[in-house]
């Protein structure tokens, strides 16, 4: 192995050469094809090492998260097996019963929080430079809905799209501004955007949050089966039975 050569590559890349050494090196790159090609492979190896180890923890976290989502998608969730010794089990069971008696919620109606998934907004990738919209998106994605509302309002003054309206509505719902939210979703409901069914779902959630179970059910029944999250609609309908 040509050791000197690799030490030279490193010195050059670290900027540790004198002006003269540097120009000699660059001269060799331009004249010696073999040398140049090996130098470019050397740089490539450095890049690969950087990606391999620089993001190792992130990669592990990603793979773990990915596997969980993938298993869930392919219905492979395995129930967790917990081994318990019998006396632990007896103790745990009596504690469970005690807690059950103390805190059992006899009102079996589903709760808003079980179904509440505000999701994430993604406007700004579309090379959008509207400062208010960027702020709105950021606040929304950080779940700071109260902060997001005024940003959405100023964006909607000049730029009223179904998507922005939808996320505005969701923010209103999260901040318990029922009346305003209802107006927004009703407008989307009568429109023809892709947010039509989503708006209906949010109207149903709005009723659920106010514990108007009958109203919630009525709205759910109007949602088309084509709706992408129809399984949640069914789940909530079932829970309302």
């Amino acid at each position: 192995m040509n050791e000197e050569r690799y030490l030279l590559f490193d010195q050059y890349l670290q900027g540790e050469m004198t002006v003269e050494e540097r120009s000699n090196f660059e001269k060799q790159i331009s004249e010696d094809q073999d040398f140049a090609s090996e130098f470019s492979t050397f740089k490539e190896v450095l890049r690969q090492l950087k990606t391999k180890f620089g993001h190792e923890q992130e990669r592990e976290a990603f793979i773990e998260n990915l596997s969980a989502i993938s298993d869930k998608h392919f219905n492979k969730e395995k129930p967790k097996v917990v081994f318990m010794r019998p006396w632990y089990f007896a103790a745990a069971a009596s504690v469970a019963i005690l807690f059950g008696l103390l805190f059992f919620d006899y009102n079996q109606n589903p709760s808003f929080n079980d179904f509440n998934q505000p999701g994430q907004a993604h406007f700004t990738e579309r090379s959008n430079t509207n400062v208010n919209l960027i702020q709105a998106e950021k606040a929304f994605n950080d779940k700071k809905f109260k902060e997001a509302v005024p940003f959405f309002e100023s964006v909607l003054k000049n730029n009223k799209t179904a998507e922005i309206q939808y996320y505005y509505g969701v923010s209103l719902l999260q901040t318990i501004e029922y009346k305003k939210a209802e107006v927004v979703f009703n407008e989307l409901k009568s429109g023809n955007s892709v947010y039509k069914e989503k708006a209906l779902w949010n109207l149903a959630l709005l009723k659920l949050k106010q514990k108007d179970y009958k109203g919630c059910k009525q709205i759910l029944q109007t949602i088309s089966q084509e709706y992408e999250d129809y399984d949640e609609v069914q789940e909530l309908l079932h829970a309302l039975e």
Partner: protein, 194 residues
């Protein structure tokens, strides 16, 4: 690469790089069923489809982290084509059992094809690199791992209880060893192709 415009679906790539569960779930919900359908119609089963999808997702993560992925076509086309070609490669490896391929299902998109070929090259390079890295001695592996996670070579030297000069030199030589092997593999490949 700059000349083509970045597609708004770049958000999926960015979401994968950021490990954004909402984005990953939406990919599974919106784009994976089509892949599963294709694989199941072409001599595969659900488990195999799940594996192919997962491998492609990891490839996309790696590519995004290396900043080499700028989507110029819809994510749908790109993702489907990547999975499809991955599956066809798998089939080729075990093709002695007779394979039926339902080709008219394919939707070929020129821009997607280009990007897919880039991704495949990226993957190939990375696999070669990983293989060569495993060939290195334990000392080299450890030193490289430390120098690229810690970054300050002074700290690396301290951790390994050697001098700064030694780690600097050793690091260059370990990178050099990898360079030589990869260079040889490249030369061999171009010899084979000519």
């Amino acid at each position: 690469m700059k000349k083509s415009k970045i597609h708004p679906d770049q958000k999926y790539i960015d979401g994968i790089a950021a490990n954004d569960s909402a984005i990953i779930r939406s990919i599974y919900k919106n784009y994976v069923p089509k892949v599963v359908f294709y694989i199941m119609n072409n001599s595969g089963d659900r488990d195999q489809a799940q594996d192919v999808v997962q491998e492609i997702m990891i490839l996309l993560f790696n590519q995004a982290k290396a900043n080499t992925l700028q989507l110029t076509c819809p994510f749908d086309a790109y993702f489907f084509l990547l999975c499809k070609r991955k599956w066809l490669n798998e089939l080729k490896k075990t093709s002695n059992k007779g394979v039926t391929i339902n080709e008219d299902f394919a939707s070929i998109n020129e821009s997607a094809l280009d990007s897919v070929e880039q991704a495949e090259q990226f993957d190939e390079k990375q696999q070669l690199f990983d293989m060569m890295f495993q060939k290195l001695g334990d000392k080299c592996q450890e030193l490289l791992k430390l120098s690229f996670t810690i970054k300050s070579m002074e700290e690396v030297a301290e951790k390994l209880n050697v001098t700064y000069g030694y780690v600097r030199k050793k690091k260059s030589l370990c990178v050099g060893q990898l360079t030589r092997w990869i260079q040889e593999a490249k030369n061999f490949k171009s010899l084979k192709n000519n």
